[in-house]
Each structure stands twice: as C-alpha cells, then as structure tokens.
C-alpha cells in the first residue's frame, strides 16, 4: 500500500542553514566560555556564538577572543553601526574591517539593522527608524547592493528594529516595506520576535501574528529573542530581562510556519551570570522542540 499522502501544505523554508540555538558572546563571559580548560563544558547547549561586530573589529583582546570563540563554535556577526539607512556615505573603512573580521572568524553571515544610526557626520549609536517611503526604499536598496559589493563572500541580513515613533507621511506599513525590500534586493531577514511584539504593542493597530505571517519565509536567516521593559505607556526593548510568554508563543508560530531557524537569545543590559543566560537559551530550545520535535528537518534544534 502506498504511503498516505500528507494533507499538510508544503511548509516554506527559511534561509539556511539552521545552526541551532546560540547566545551573544559578552566580555564578562569570556573566561567561562573561552578559557575553560574543559573546553566546551560551560557552553553546553550553545550551538553558536553571535559576536557584536563593533566589539571585535580592532586588533587586540576583542579580536583574539573572536578567534578563540570561532575555534569552539560557529560564529555570526551582528552590528549596529552600518547605518544602512543613513545619508552619510557608507564607511568604507568600517566595511573593510567587518570583512576582515568575517574572514578571521569564518562568520556564517553578518547582520545589522534596518535603520539609520548617524546623520550629519555624527554617530548616534542607536537605531533610528527609516521612514517607510518609496525614496527610502530606493535608498536602502542601493546601499544594500553596496554592502554586498564590499562583503561579497558572506550572506547579509537586516534586522527589524524596535521603534518608538512613526513618522507622518509614510505610505507603507512596516510589513509592506519589508516585503518590497526583500523582493527587490533579496536581502535576508534577521527576524527579531521581541521587536515585533514591542512594535505592535507600542503603536495602534499592531498585529504581531499578521506581521510574522506576512514575511517571506525564504528570507529569514536568523531569529532573535529577548526580553523588554514595560513602562506602562511604552515598552522599551531593553534586552535586559527574560522573554515573556507571548514572545515565546510568537516564536513558535513562526517556527510552525517556516521550520527550524538559527535562534539567538539576546541579553545586553544588566548582563546576568552565565547560567541565567544559558537557561533562557534552553527555554528557547525547548519552545522550538515543542513545535518541531527534538531535531527539525534539515537543522538542529
């Protein structure tokens, strides 16, 4: 008897490969994660490290730590200073340094944020939302091409950032802007689930389910999970707390739709002891396994 045909529709697949569940490598955890004579024991359950790009660009201790990390786990790079939506020229020295770091660490991909992070020659060191206009879509598309030209050997992804303002005079909603940007450029998406939740809570009419359901699955390179701080009138994306259950549920919704995706739990402010961070990482893994089983097809969970 032939096997019964599945009644499930084919599931769209994320941009591979799935590296599993990782954590951000922060200096306070270097000794435990990189210098332990037992090798990988302290990092049990960590499948990859995400390096904050700017912390490792210069030669010196940061670069040496990056090399040690790369000897232990796959590396992905996540930056904040690209200024992809900026009007100041792209910083060619910065791009060259990122390329060198990516080469040094064998980075599987690099990412930054869909934002501008400086203007008029000043660096904001923050992520300011790009207006969702045709002009901005054209501008960011051209800059994505330029970044790819400078970094031809490594996949490039942009993250959906949290934002606290919505400009007047924007003809597109966030989902439409992303759909058009991905369609035009093929840029990959670092989908920050917590940011989706925060943005939808902070702005009227936000629908997190509709947003994640509408994103092109094939573009999703990586997922970020994080905690936030609810101030009552606004939720701030602090990366300084455990993730909340609705964010976990939204994560599971995405995985049901697109399958295994490399997932990273971010904790940047009030950095906890390593076991706390590892516990959140394990929680994310358990959430994924609850949806996809112990090991999803084509990727590790």
């Amino acid at each position: 008897m032939p096997p019964a045909a599945s009644t499930d529709p084919p599931r769209p697949q994320a941009a591979g490969p799935c590296l599993g569940h990782g954590i951000g490598l922060r200096r306070a955890h270097w000794p435990a994660l990189l210098d332990d004579p037992q090798g990988l024991a302290p990092a049990a359950g960590v499948d990859f490290f995400e390096l904050l790009t700017e912390n490792h660009l210069s030669p010196g201790p940061g670069r040496r730590a990056a090399r040690r990390a790369a000897a232990r786990r796959p590396i992905v790079l996540h930056g904040t200073a690209l200024n992809i939506g900026g009007l100041d020229p792209l910083d060619r020295d910065y791009l060259a340094a990122v390329a060198a770091l990516a080469h040094d660490t064998g980075a599987r991909w690099i990412s930054d944020h869909l934002c501008f992070s400086g203007a008029h020659g000043e660096a904001f060191h923050d992520l300011i939302p790009v207006p969702r206009t045709v002009e901005a879509l054209d501008h960011v598309s051209r800059r994505i091409d330029a970044v790819r030209g400078a970094l031809p050997d490594v996949p490039f992804a942009l993250e959906n950032p949290s934002y606290y303002i919505q400009y007047a005079g924007q003809p597109m909603d966030e989902l439409t802007f992303w759909q058009r940007l991905i369609d035009r450029t093929g840029v990959r998406l670092l989908l920050d689930i917590n940011n989706v939740y925060v943005n939808c809570a902070n702005h009227p009419g936000g629908d997190p389910d509709a947003f994640v359901d509408g994103l092109p699955a094939h573009a999703v390179q990586q997922i970020h999970l994080a905690g936030h701080t609810d101030l009552g009138d606004v939720i701030i994306d602090t990366h300084g707390a455990p993730m909340i259950d609705p964010v976990v549920a939204l994560y599971q919704r995405v995985l049901r739709r697109i399958g295994p995706v490399s997932t990273l739990f971010e904790w940047d402010n009030d950095l906890p002891a390593l076991p706390v961070l590892l516990a959140e990482n394990a929680r994310a893994r358990a959430a994924a396994q609850a949806v996809l089983g112990p090991a999803g097809p084509g990727g590790r969970l």
Binding site: S58, P59, Y94, A119, G121, E122, D126, P131, G169, D233
Partner: protein, 238 residues
C-alpha cells in the same frame, strides 16, 4: 496616508536636531508628526550612549566627584562632544582635555581622568603579544608610563574599592599601566625604582650580566628586579 511623503533628508535633519537636545525636540516632533515624548526617548538614548561611554572609561573620576556635579559636567561634555565614530569609546577620548579646557574639576581630579584615559588606551592597545625567546625578557607592548603631579595610585585604588578618599597632595609620581597577557586585564602600579630599572634593562636588551656590570648591582639583584617586573606584568618572560 494623506499628504506628501516625508523626505529622507528632512527626517535625518530633524532627528539630528532632536537628539542634540534643546527646544528642537518639540520642533522636530511637530515636523516629523510624532509625539514629543516618544521622540525624547531617542534623545535620551543617543545622549545616554555617550554618557555611558564617559562613565565606563572614567569611573574613578566619577567616584571622586559629587553625583550632581558629575551629571551636570557630563551633560556639558555631551553637548560639546557628540560621537563621531562607530567606536563608542572614542566619544570619551576628548574628556580629559575638555576638563582641562573648561577647568571643570580641580587639578587632582583632572589628573585622575588623564590616568583613566591612559588605562583605556592600554585596554584597547592593538599591539600583538611578541614571541619572547626562552629565558629572555621583553617589554610588555601595552606598557604605558604616565608622569603625574599627584600620587594617583593609592587614591585610585581607594576609589576603586569604594572607599572615601580625599584627593592627594601634590607630589610628582609615575604610574605604570599595562595589560596582563594571561587574562587581558588592565593593571596599574606606582612607579618603583626596581621596576623602572627592570624596564630599562629589557628596553635596552641587556643581559643580566651586562645590567649587573653597568649598574654595579649583584646579578641576583638584577634577576630579582626582572622577576618582580614579570610578576607585575610589566615585562614578559620567555
């Protein structure tokens, strides 16, 4: 959407004005069509990043300054020195010179800030660790020697421990700062004649016998000085 698209250049200009502070936050909010309170979040963030860079690099100077005075001081600094580089620490680099320019703190505290920026430069020194021949010595490539009109080291240590400590009286001193090769931690010491001698020996590439002959000290004393400097991470031993 009703009305024309907002222009990218206008967004950049108004955001720039808003994060720089002053009454432009309200004007920018009106121009961008956003709530002033929400726009002020970005102002706090952007200025807060520079403030945090100053706080992170000048923690001892901060500890030696009254909190309200420190906050006012750093606000003035942020106004005068917005960040211009992707390296956030670079935004703090001008702080010691700015303190001197505006005479905002007394001389010992300004000297302490100079020491802290020296430590920051040591912390980020990109020089690779050299290969040291077996049995030989080499200068720690991150070593920095700071001459100060105040005895800064005991004061800095007390402040680092959270102990109340008055500024030291004027007294010429040397501070030796370097990064430990084993764990990349930055350390500093008060200059000591034995260590300065050991640094001279390693810098000039002298053997123990040559150093003993030139200094008139026994070889054992030379060796002890060199070993002490190695223990302090000022020298590297092969």
């Amino acid at each position: 959407m009703s009305g024309p698209e907002i222009r990218l250049a206008d967004v950049h200009t108004w955001i720039h004005r808003a994060v720089r502070g002053g009454p432009d936050v309200h004007a920018a909010a009106a121009a961008l069509g956003v709530a002033p309170g929400r726009l002020a979040i970005y102002r706090r963030f952007v200025r807060g990043h520079v403030r945090s860079a100053v706080a992170a690099n000048f923690g001892l100077t901060r500890a030696a300054t009254a909190p309200a005075a420190w906050d006012a001081l750093v606000d003035r600094y942020v106004d005068a020195h917005p960040a211009h580089h992707w390296r956030l620490d670079d935004a703090a680099a001008a702080f010691p010179a700015w303190l001197a320019d505006v005479a905002a703190l007394d001389a010992p505290r300004r000297a302490l800030a100079e020491l802290e920026w020296t430590l920051a430069e040591v912390r980020h020194d990109p020089t690779p660790w050299p290969a040291v021949p077996a049995g030989g010595w080499a200068l720690n490539p991150t070593l920095a020697i700071l001459q100060s009109p105040f005895a800064l080291v005991p004061w800095a240590i007390a402040l680092g421990r959270g102990e109340p400590a008055p500024p030291p009286p004027a007294a010429e001193s040397l501070v030796l700062a370097c990064r430990r090769p084993a764990d990349e931690v930055t350390v500093f010491h008060a200059g000591h004649p034995d260590w300065l001698f050991a640094i001279k020996v390693a810098h000039d590439g002298l053997t123990v016998a040559e150093a003993a002959a030139l200094s008139g000290q026994p070889a054992a004393a030379v060796r002890a000085a060199l070993d002490g400097a190695v223990d302090a991470s000022l020298l590297l031993k092969g």
